[in-house]
Amino acid sequence: MAAELKTFKGGIHPPYNKELSSGKAIAEAPIPDELIIPLQQHIGAPCAPLVSPGDKVKVGQKIGEAEAFVSAPVHASVSGTVKSIEEVANFTGAMVKSVIITPDPQQEAFSGTPRDTENLSQEELRGIAREAGLVGMGGAAFPTHVKLTPPKEKPVDLVIINGCECEPFLTCDHRLMLERPEDLVKGLKLLMRAVGAEKGIIGVEANKMDAADALRSASASEPSVSVEILEVKYPEGAEKMLIFALTGRKVPPGKLPSEVGCLVQNVGTAIALHEAASTGKPLYERVVTVTGPGVKNPGNFLTRIGTPISTLIDAAGGFVGSPTKLIMGGPMTGWAQPDAGAAVVKGTSGVVVLTSDLVDLGEESECVRCSKCVDVCPMFLMPNFIVQATKRAQWDKAEMWGALDCFECGCCSFTCPAYIPHVDYVRKAKAEIAALKKK
C-alpha cells in the first residue's frame, strides 16, 4: 500500500506523535497581558513602525510597513495601547524591533468590509495579499505577494497546497483542513486566479485521511481542484519534494518552484488569503499547535500574533513531567527556546515541549562514514562532506558538496550515529559562502 502512494526518494520516518493533539478542535487562546509584535516576522526588509508609544490601536490596524518589495506589513492583533517600541529577542534569539501592546480589557471583534471575490484581478489579489501582510505560514515566512508575482517568462500552471504537515507533533494544518475545508478550497481558487494556473492540487499525507475526505467533498464541484494522498514521510512537505512527488517535476538546484510552473502554498496561508480577500482581514492571528509530552493538555489554539509562549503553555494546562526542550516550530526544524518568553509570529506553527526521554544529547564524534546521511538526504547531497569541509574552513569545498542546496530538513542529523549536527555546520558554511560572495 505504502509503495503506491506518491512520494520522493530519501527522507526519514521520525516518531510522529500527532495523536497528542490531532483530535483537539481549534480553540481560541486567551489574550495575554502584553503582546510583543516584531516588526520583522518574514524574510525580507523589516518594517518601520507606523505608531508611537501611547497610541491607541484597533485590532487589524496596520502598525508596521516597509517600502521594499520583499517585505510584509504587520498589524495589531488586539485593540489596545502601544506601550513601547523596543528591541526584543525573537524566537531565534535575534534582537528585533517590536511593538509592545497592552490590550484593552474589552476586545472588540475585527470589523472588515465584505467583498465579492469573484471578479478580483491578479493585480488586486497581489495587493490584497501584501496589504494583509500574508507570508508563508509553514515556518519560512516568505512574503506571499512575492510568490504570487512569478517571472513573466515562467507561467505557473499548477498551485499546490501543502497539506502534508510532515513535521512530527504538529497538527494545526490538519485541524484547519478538517474544520475549514471550504475556506481552504476557496483560498486555493484565489491563488490559482492570482497566478493564472488552471490546476490546483491539495497534497495530504496518508495519516490525515479524514482531512482528505473533508477536502474531497468540499471540492467535489471544482473540477480544477484535486486532492492527492502522499506517503507519510519526512520531509514530504518540502517544496521541491512535494512538487516532485505530485508531478514528477524537478526544481533545479538554486531555482524556485516557478521554474517548473508550480506555486506551493501553506494551508494556513491559503485560508488567510481567502479571509483577506472576502473580508479584508489581515494576518493577525494563526493556529498554533501546543503539544508534546511536556504539556498537560495538548491542543490547537487560534492565537493572536505577539502572544508569548508562556500564555500558550498555560492554555495547554502548563508543563508536566520534566520539560527538557521547548521548541518553537516543529521538532525537526524548530528553534529551541531558553525560556517561554518569545512571541508567536506569523510563521509559528507549533510550540512543542519535549521531555527528557525524547531528548538524546549524545556527544558529537568523528564521522564514521556510515553513509546513512547520504541515504536519507532528499537533495542527494553528501552531508558528511559538507561538515568535513566546514570543519576545515574549506568554503569552496563546502559549496562543491552542496551546502547551498541544503534546505536544512535535518534528516541527516536525525539518522547520524555520530551525533553530528549537520544543519548547524551547513548554516555556518552558508553564512561564510555568502560573505565571501559579497566581497
Partner: protein
C-alpha cells in the same frame, strides 16, 4: 516551573534510536553465531584466541589513546569488534604471539595511529591479519631460530578447502558438498571457516537492523560467483569456502573503509570480487579475501568522489 533547565541546541530535536555503540553491539550480536560455532568446533583453542584478541584490542586502544592524548572511546565497542574479527580470521592453531601482533597492529596502528575510528583508510582487522601474514615468514624464521614458534605455522592454512579452488582437486579429500561447506565440512584453518551458514545468519541480522546495506556483499558474492564460472571453476564452491562470506558481509561493509554512495559501493564490491578470484586463481589460495578488501579500501576516496550522487534536480527533467 522547570523552565531554567531547558536545553538549547540546534535542530533537529528528534533523533533516530541509533548511535555508534548500538551499531557495534549489533555487529557483535551478528558475529555470535559464528563465534559459538567456532567455540563448539575449536573449543578451548577458540576461546583462548578470541579472549586474547579482545583483551589486546582493548589494551591497544587504551595505550594508543593515552600516548596520543585522546579521550578513550572504548565505550563505542569498536575495539572489541576488531579484536573478535582478528581472532576469527586468523588460523586457529597460530601462535599466540602472532595474535597479539595482529591485534595490536589492527587497533593500535591501523585504527588509532591513523587518527581513530572514522579516519582510517584500511580495514583494521584485515590490516592486522595481512601484516602478520606477510611478516609471518620473517617472524617465523626469526622466532623459529629462537625456538619460540612451533614448526608448521604457515602450514596451518595450506590444507584448507581453498586449496581445491587453486588446484581444482583435492588429493586427499573427496569433492566437498555445498551443504558441507555451509556448515564447515571440511574444516578450514581459521576460526571463521566453521561454516558460512553461521556467518550468513549474522549477516541477515545486520541487514535487518540496517547496520549494513546489501549492495557491497551482493556485488562481491555475485562477482566471485560469475567470474569463477567464467574461468571454469566451481562458483558456488568459491563463495561458500574460506572467508568470502565473512569478508563480504562483515569486513567489506565496514562503514569507515567502504564507499558512501550506492554506485560507489557496487563498484567497490566488483573490484573486491575480481581481486578475490584472480588472487585465488593465480596467486595464493588463502588470504585472497583479506588482500582483495584492502585493495578495495584503497579505492574508496576515489569512488566517493567519482560516484558523488547527482544532486536533486541537477539534470533538467527530460
Amino acid at each position: 516551573m522547570a523552565t531554567n533547565k531547558l536545553i538549547v541546541t540546534p535542530p533537529p530535536h528528534l533523533r533516530a534510536k541509533e548511535n555508534i555503540p548500538i551499531s557495534m553491539r549489533d555487529v557483535l550480536i551478528a558475529l555470535s553465531p559464528a563465534v559459538v560455532a567456532a567455540l563448539v568446533v575449536f573449543t578451548w583453542n577458540a576461546l583462548f584466541n578470541i579472549a586474547l584478541c579482545t583483551v589486546v584490542a582493548i589494551l591497544s586502544e587504551l595505550l594508543m589513546r593515552k600516548l596520543m592524548k585522546r579521550k578513550p572511546t572504548l565505550n563505542d565497542y569498536s575495539a572489541v569488534v576488531t579484536g573478535v574479527l582478528v581472532a576469527m580470521v586468523m588460523p586457529a592453531k597460530i601462535h599466540w604471539v602472532m595474535l597479539v601482533i595482529a591485534t595490536f597492529v589492527a587497533v593500535g596502528i591501523a585504527k588509532e595511529l591513523m587518527g581513530g575510528l572514522g579516519r582510517n583508510l584500511f580495514n583494521p582487522a584485515l590490516f592486522g591479519f595481512v601484516f602478520v601474514w606477510l611478516c609471518s615468514g620473517f617472524i617465523a624464521s626469526w622466532a623459529g631460530n629462537l625456538g619460540i614458534l612451533p614448526a608448521g605455522f604457515d602450514g596451518a592454512v595450506a590444507a584448507t578447502p581453498l586449496a581445491y579452488l587453486k588446484h581444482g582437486t583435492f588429493s586427499s579429500m573427496p569433492h566437498p558438498s555445498y551443504l558441507g561447506l555451509l556448515f564447515g565440512h571440511p574444516r578450514g584453518g581459521a576460526l571463521v571457516e566453521v561454516g558460512s551458514f553461521w556467518v550468513l545468519l549474522g549477516a541477515a541480522y545486520l541487514l535487518y537492523r540496517g547496520v549494513i546495506r546489501a549492495a557491497i556483499p551482493t556485488a562481491i558474492v555475485l562477482t566471485v560467483l560469475l567470474l569463477s564460472y567464467i574461468l571454469g571453476k566451481d562458483g558456488v564452491y568459491a563463495i561458500l569456502a574460506g572467508g568470502v562470506m565473512l569478508g563480504a558481509f562483515f569486513m567489506a561493509t565496514d562503514w569507515v573503509t567502504s564507499p558512501m554512495t550506492l554506485f560507489g559501493q557496487i563498484v567497490f564490491g566488483v573490484i573486491i570480487g575480481v581481486c578475490i578470484v584472480l588472487i585465488r586463481t593465480y596467486g595464493a589460495p588463502s588470504g585472497a579475501v583479506a588482500f582483495s578488501i584492502l585493495i578495495g579500501n584503497a579505492f574508496v576516496p576515489l569512488l566517493d568522489k567519482v560516484f558523488k550522487p547527482q544532486r536533486f534536480g541537477a539534470v533538467a527533467a527530460a
